[in-house]
């Protein structure tokens, strides 16, 4: 990697959200049906909201997160991994707050993508009582065509 310029130093950058995020019952129902499932009748939301709620509720848009890494979203960021640990099932009509930060941005050479940066960030969803509902760590590949 010595021949490549270092990636931006973004480790530790806050992704705390400014506003709460609430899973609306009507949207949850549409989402479930779009995947071929019926919404639960017990007030729980589809678990994929772990990803949606944290992405929408964090303090940056996806484009803004890419921009913080000096990357243009139009250059095609790719999801490569996601890990989620649920403390409680997610519920509709419940306001959640997102806390989080960038863990690392690491520059690598890839046979498939050429030069790329691996972006890893962690987000936590907290309910109104301050209880953690889940934590997730997402990893994206940011292809650096200009360095290939």
């Amino acid at each position: 990697m010595e021949d490549l310029p270092p990636p931006p130093d973004v480790a530790g950058l806050s992704l705390d959200g400014a506003e709460t995020y609430t899973i609306e019952p009507e949207e949850n129902a549409r989402l479930c049906r779009s995947t071929g499932a019926e919404p639960a009748s017990d007030g729980t939301a589809h678990p994929i909201y772990y990803y949606i709620a944290t992405q929408v509720g964090m303090g940056k848009t996806v484009a803004g997160l890419c921009a913080a890494c000096d990357f243009d979203i139009d250059d095609g960021p790719m999801m490569v991994g996601s890990q989620a640990a649920f403390t409680h099932p997610l519920r509709i009509d419940t306001p959640y707050r997102v806390n989080g930060s960038i863990i690392s941005l690491t520059r690598k050479r890839s046979r498939k993508l050429g030069v790329m940066d691996l972006l890893e960030y962690r987000l936590v969803l907290v309910d109104a009582n301050g209880e953690e509902a889940l934590a997730c760590t997402n990893t994206w590949a940011l292809p650096r065509k200009e360095l290939a």
């Binding site: 949207e27 549409r30 989402l31 779009s34 995947t35 071929g36 499932a37 589809h46 678990p47 994929i48 772990y50 990803y51 949606i52 992405q55 929408v56 848009t61 996806v62 979203i73 095609g76 790719m78 999801m79 490569v80 991994g81 996601s82 890990q83 989620a84 640990a85 649920f86 099932p89």
Partner: protein
């Protein structure tokens, strides 16, 4: 139910561009590769719009819910391996890798019919009264 057992598969017959437009609003993400075939072609990624990765994972979650109707998903670890495109038929499946009285662990995969795996990973499910 025992270690090594396959989980019943979940099939989504046709991935729809209309659903991708809905997911763009759910995710507040209007990346054109999910909305505009011309944008996909411009990136050299084919001629059909590409499904959002979280939507692909949602099919797997549906499979897990059907396999463990009294269970609660407590952990997911996912590797995104390939693209699912408009019109594709996808099948989610898995295998039990660990089984205790109160918890199961599974490997899972989502595969495009006649194509490559789109994602793979592991799930942990709290079984509640599933095995009583």
């Amino acid at each position: 139910m025992k270690v090594g057992d396959p989980l019943p598969t979940f099939t989504h017959d046709r991935v729809s561009p209309d659903a991708m437009r809905e997911w763009a609003t759910f995710l507040r993400d209007d990346n054109p590769i999910h909305l505009d075939p011309a944008a996909v072609a411009a990136l050299g990624l084919g001629d059909r719009v590409i499904n959002q990765g979280p939507a692909n994972l949602a099919y797997v979650i549906n499979m897990l819910h059907a396999a463990f109707p009294s269970g609660t998903i407590t952990g997911l670890s996912t590797r995104f391996l390939g693209n699912v495109r408009a019109g594709d038929c996808v099948v989610a499946g898995g295998t039990i890798t660990s089984l205790k009285a109160d918890e199961a662990e599974c490997d899972f995969e989502l595969r495009v019919v006649d194509g490559e795996p789109a994602l793979a990973g592991t799930a942990t499910i709290a079984l509640n009264q599933q095995l009583s």
